[in-house]
């Protein structure tokens, strides 16, 4: 079994793969446009001073998402990502 977590809980510097996207239709479309779909590898790169929003590396681009939006995205850590302290490219 892979470990699942939501995007907002992904620690800084760690990566995981998207398994499910639960967002309002507009946001869902925007995320798809940005290439965030099932199977996409996401890395948490930056945390803003308040801890919300965070910036994630998605398909080579750095995208800031608010916690309320990141909470709807479910991830799984895959075996090769553990120990998951992958370089935050």
């Amino acid at each position: 079994m892979y470990e699942t977590l939501c995007l907002s809980a992904l620690p800084e510097g760690e990566s995981a793969y998207v398994t499910e996207v639960n967002a309002a239709p507009a946001m869902d479309r925007r995320l798809t446009d940005l290439g965030l779909v099932r199977g996409t590898r996401v890395t948490c790169v930056l945390r803003s001073p308040a801890g919300d929003p965070c910036a994630y590396l998605i398909r080579g681009a750095l995208i800031a998402l608010r916690r309320s939006d990141a909470e709807g995205i479910t991830l799984e850590r895959r075996a090769q990502e553990q120990p998951a302290r992958a370089v935050a490219t």
Partner: protein, 605 residues
């Protein structure tokens, strides 16, 4: 004539490429959403004329937002003889998603991989022939900022408009993403570059809990300090120069009627000269510095750091970007609000856009700070003090924006913040020379020209008002006398309020108009520097409290006429335009009343 559309993700250097090809000067900046309207320009290649249409940057063509609809409609309408899809080489995979989508609408596509130089520095290599083979359309590489590959691009465009490639069948969105991933895997080679790691380190420094906010204040503080410290000397030089020219003009005009001489010299010339002398130096320093920050890619980081505050105001974090645009010119800030997708949040950003002081207010603020709070001293310490106070004024403007946004969210524009995704582009080396030239020519001279064209008639008008008498006093005295009791309540006086009313077309002329009005009724006839200005103001009963209230009112009052017109155009509603006038005015008057009453009750003034 051949028509070619430029499409692409936001912030891939489309506008830079457009400028390089057409020789036009679309404003560029390193953040997503810079181009909010379509620009057109043309160039000639091998005797053929090509019209370029710079479409707004979009992540998709699904027509969910205004920009997407504009881009999609244009491509689908068949008005274009070809579409150039511009991609960012440093982030090709994401960009390919849009390329694939365009290919479903038309086959007459040329893929332009821009920012090749940037990618190389970041250790990214793109195999252009391999990509072309996979996509089935030609691919060229460019570095728009350095003008590399432009000739090749023009040649490819010439071939493109004659080509006839059919569109491919539509795919499901997720299918596009998968295909983009596969292609990118096959054609992009990237090695972990030290530069990329350094960018991340800088990013962390700029956004971390401990350093993010202090560094932001420091950066903006530095820009403000350089503006305050650097503006003094050229301002004094210009004032002296204009005084000499004035003396010469006086000699030339010695033989014309005294009233006409007064109108031309004391009215038109003096006000115009003041506007130029006081406005030009701070603008000529502030605009290029700010453009450098913009070009570097810092603004989205500032928006990232500030977003939590906007979340609490229940608005969009991109409002921080539109506020930055407002710093240059409120009207630009209003147009810039188009980058905000949610109509509710966009309206809030528009209504509060004039709470950020525009460049035209800086000279007034700087002059009052220097005279009343730095005591007219010069030197490093004095300029630092001045900068801190001006930064404080800016912070107050930001606080006012957040407060009013929150209030609007709780009252007439109720709602919860919509979701948003903000791209933080890689830092780019600013093109210093280009930035200075462009910001001087495009922004500084443009804004100055507008101010001068308002200042000259305003100078004539105010002179006439000061010199035409009705009964026992001048028209001006009647007006200021009428406004005076009301203005005094708010710690101002009739002349100050009158100057703000007359300054509606351009904030830059507020201080000169004030000056003209005082000179017309005062004993001083000449003034040559800030000390003389200080003496003149004191002579007319100004205290530190008057200065504070004038600064507050300068910060928060009705938007200038251009901004009002832009707000009306953007909202299409008299009601919202009226509200955008009422909000800052009420805030300014409220604060003035509060401060002046408090100071009087406490016996401070």
């Amino acid at each position: 004539m051949n028509r070619v559309a430029l499409a692409g993700n936001p912030n891939v250097g489309k506008s830079t490429l457009f400028n390089a090809l057409t020789g036009l000067r679309q404003h560029t900046g390193n953040w997503a959403g810079k181009t909010v309207a379509t620009a057109r320009g043309s160039y000639t290649y091998e005797g053929q004329e090509y019209q370029l249409i710079d479409l707004p940057g979009t992540y998709s063509l699904a027509a969910h937002s205004q920009e997407e609809a504009v881009a999609r409609d244009f491509i689908e309408s068949g008005q274009a003889d070809g579409v150039v899809v511009v991609c960012d080489a440093t982030c090709l995979e994401r960009n390919l998603i849009l390329v694939l989508q365009v290919l479903e609408l038309t086959g007459k596509v040329l893929v332009c991989i821009n920012l090749m130089d940037e990618a190389e520095r970041l250790g990214v290599q793109v195999d252009l022939p391999a990509l072309s083979q996979r996509l089935g359309v030609p691919v060229v590489g460019t570095a728009g900022g350095r003008q590399d590959g432009l000739e090749e691009l023009k040649g490819a465009v010439a071939t493109l408009v004659r080509s006839d490639v059919p569109a491919v069948p539509e795919r499901a969105p997720a299918e596009r993403v998968t295909l983009a991933e596969r292609y990118a895997d096959q054609v992009v080679r990237s090695r972990s570059a030290q530069r990329l790691r350094r960018q991340r380190r800088i990013d962390r420094l700029l956004t971390s809990k401990a350093t993010g906010i202090p560094l932001m204040l420091l950066l903006f503080g530095l820009v403000v300090w350089l503006t305050v410290a650097g503006a003094n000397f050229p301002s004094a030089l210009l004032t002296e120069l204009f005084a000499r020219v004035g003396a010469v003009l006086e000699g030339w005009l010695a033989n014309i009627p005294a009233w006409l001489r007064g109108l031309l010299l004391d009215g038109v010339y003096r006000v115009t000269a003041w506007v130029v002398a006081v406005m030009l130096p701070p603008m000529a320093i502030f605009f290029p510095l700010f453009t450098l920050l913009e070009d570097l890619g810092y603004l989205p980081r500032a928006a990232f750091v500030m977003d939590h505050a906007f979340q609490r105001a229940k608005t969009c974090g991109k409002q921080c970007l539109t506020m930055c645009m407002s710093l240059g010119c409120n009207a630009c800030g209003v147009t810039g609000c188009r980058i905000i997708d949610s109509p509710r949040e966009r309206l809030i950003a528009i209504l509060t856009s004039s709470l950020v002081p525009c460049n035209g207010k800086f000279p007034t603020l700087i002059a009052l700070i220097t005279i009343f709070f730095v005591g007219g001293r010069t030197g490093l310490l004095a300029s630092l003090e001045g900068a801190v106070l001006l930064l404080g004024t800016l912070v107050l403007g930001v606080a006012g924006t957040l407060g009013c946004s929150r209030l609007l969210s709780a009252t007439v524009l109720k709602g919860v913040p919509s979701s948003f995704a903000l791209e933080l582009p890689p830092f780019r080396k600013p093109r210093v020379g280009q930035v200075i030239v462009r910001s001087m020519l495009d922004r500084t001279l443009f804004v100055l020209g507008r101010a001068v064209s308002v200042a000259a008639p305003a100078g004539a008008f105010i002179w006439l008002m000061a010199n035409l008498t009705v009964g026992d006093a001048s028209l001006l005295a009647h007006c200021t006398g009428f406004l005076d009791p009301f203005a005094r309540l708010f710690g101002l006086d009739g002349v100050i309020l009158m100057a703000f009313l007359l300054g509606w077309p351009a904030n830059e002329i507020v201080l000169p108009v004030m000056l003209m009005a005082y000179l017309a009724t005062g004993s001083l006839v000449e003034f040559d520097d800030l000390a003389a200005l200080g003496a003149l103001l004191s002579e007319h009963g100004w205290t530190w409290l008057t200065a504070v209230c004038t600064m507050l009112f300068s910060l928060f009052h009705w938007p200038c006429s251009t901004t009002c017109l832009t707000i009306y155009k953007e909202t299409g509603s008299v009601k919202w335009t009226a509200l955008s006038v009422v909000i800052p005015t009420a805030l300014g008057l409220g604060l003035c009343l509060l401060v002046s009453t408090a100071a009087r009750l406490l016996g401070l003034a």
